[in-house]
Amino acid sequence: MIAATLPNNALVACYLVSTVCFIVALKALSSPRRARWGNLIGIGGMVVAVGITAVDSHAGPHGIIPIGMTVGLVIAVPTARLVRMTAMPQLVAVFNGVGGAAAALVSILTFLRVQLGHPSSLHLLEILLGLAIGATSFAGSMVAFAKLQEVMTGRPITYPCQHLVNAALGLGIIGVGVWVIADPHLAGMVIVAVLSLSLGAGICLPVGGADTPVLISLLNSLTGLAVAADGFALNNLVLVVAGTLVGTSGALLTKMMSDAMGRSLPNIILGGLPEAGSTKELSGGSRTVRSADAADIGTLLAYSRRVMIVPGYGLAVAQAQHTVVELAKLLEGRGVEVAYAIHPVAGRMPGHMNVLLAEADVPYEALDELDDANTKFPAADVSLVVGANDVVNPAARSDPASPLYGMPILDVDRSANVVFLKRSMRPGFSGVDNALLYDPKTVLLFGDAKDSLTKLVAAVRAA
């Protein structure tokens, strides 16, 4: 239909340009200064790779290639543009999942194309790897999406013999895969797909909601490997390089993320957090919390010298970032020193809170990262914790029996007073109770973060 096929060298040259763009993009995305530029270079690489492929191929039967690309574009742009910043993590999960599904479909189509031509065992192995890894990543991403979107519970879902079931699924995939290699038939491919989908879901169900971001990173890395496997199956340079780059850089990123949360990867994947019931003295019946009204807390804040604000996911869901900034400005107007302490995983993903606060025009300089913040807490009169819980739980420092033990936390318990704005006494995302809530120097103000903050603004004005 369109242009004649290009000389091979031109194609290789373009693929080379595009792979270099991807490498530069990854490099730039790891530095705050160049990150945005890096994303643009990545787009450039994509345009070159897709463009040259489009020039070199036809529109496909019934024009499915331009039609499919148009449909994808029309769905993706508004979705990605309009979804609220708080829902970003699950959106990343979805877009990763569809990539895995595409890789699995490409494997099946490659199989259908070569099935009758006596494909080599190696070729079939490549196809099967693309299918199995792609389908696993797709199902896993959908489970991660459901957990973050709270379509299903964020708590680890466990059932008897969980690991045995997963191991059996894994062995089943290998067994059927060998069968397909010995005797290429579509039914075997479909069984591999179904088993892989089950395995993907099976691996992700026991992962706790708080660990889901690490899980998404791992699945991202897996999708990269699925793409690389398809690259081998299609003998295509750019798929192999780009897929492998994402596969290994994603694996490293997964490790960095789990380190930032003080969790080990095997622990996340195999264990899930232990049931909350196993932390003794969780419901130490007689312990009481002190709750106060907004006027009291407003006065406390207004007459403090140093206030540390610790924003968490509760602030994000209540869309209260603008109100918290209003409160901070008001306090600063009264001569109170205000700083924001940002835990690396505040919100639900690393960097999530920085993005939300930047959206509310909080200057970058006012955001203190973990280490800086922790040097300031002992001098702070009040720590105002807005919708955060696990990231300030002192058990992570002191109680080796706690599932959170070892996670770096913000030491709000070292400031003179602690104010929690909470919706309820429900424990944090990890399901672990927080002893700081019962501490005598802690006061609680119950309610939606935005309502509470609005009340505090009024109270500080009146004070």
């Binding site: 091979n8 194609l11 290789v12 991807f22 490498i23 990854l26 790891s30 705050p32 994303n39 990545g42 790779a49 897709v50 489009a54 496909g60 039967p61 499915i64 499919g68 994808g72 574009l73 993706a76 979705t79 990605a80 910043m85 990343v92 877009f95 990763n96 569809v98 990539g99 595409a102 890789a103 490409v106 189509l109 194309r113 031509g117 971001p213 991202n220 999708t223 990269g224 793409v227 081998f232 003998n235 340079l237 750019v238 798929l239 780059l245 994402v246 596969g247 290994t248 990123l253 960095m256 930032a260 690396p344 993903m349 690393p350 960097g351 970058y364 300089e365 990262e369 280490d371 800086d372």
Partner: protein, 120 residues
Amino acid sequence: MVGRVHERRWQVITGDLSLLVIFVLAAFLGYEVISKVPSILHTPLMSGSNAIHGVILVGAMLIADEANGALQVGLALAAVILATLNIVGGVVVTDRMLEMFKGRDRTPASDGKKPADDDA
């Protein structure tokens, strides 16, 4: 079954062995290219690399071009749509996250001290 013209396009770099060499090198490169990522960039980096594996669209296009019969055409159309979603969604989400950094030329990690004095 498959025409020679089409076969040629698939053999951009011939032989699984040279692809294997490239795979191994790319694996090391992927590990080396990101290092010491500040935690605020973990999510954008994940999202950015998520967009990059959307390059599976190239594979979907190559295979869609040769689809025949309703089953293959349907699957190929789905593959092209999903791969496009991956690329476009990944890129736009990443850009939205990174939009927040624009106009801020300070590197976040290094100057935690200075702004603290500004407040005083």
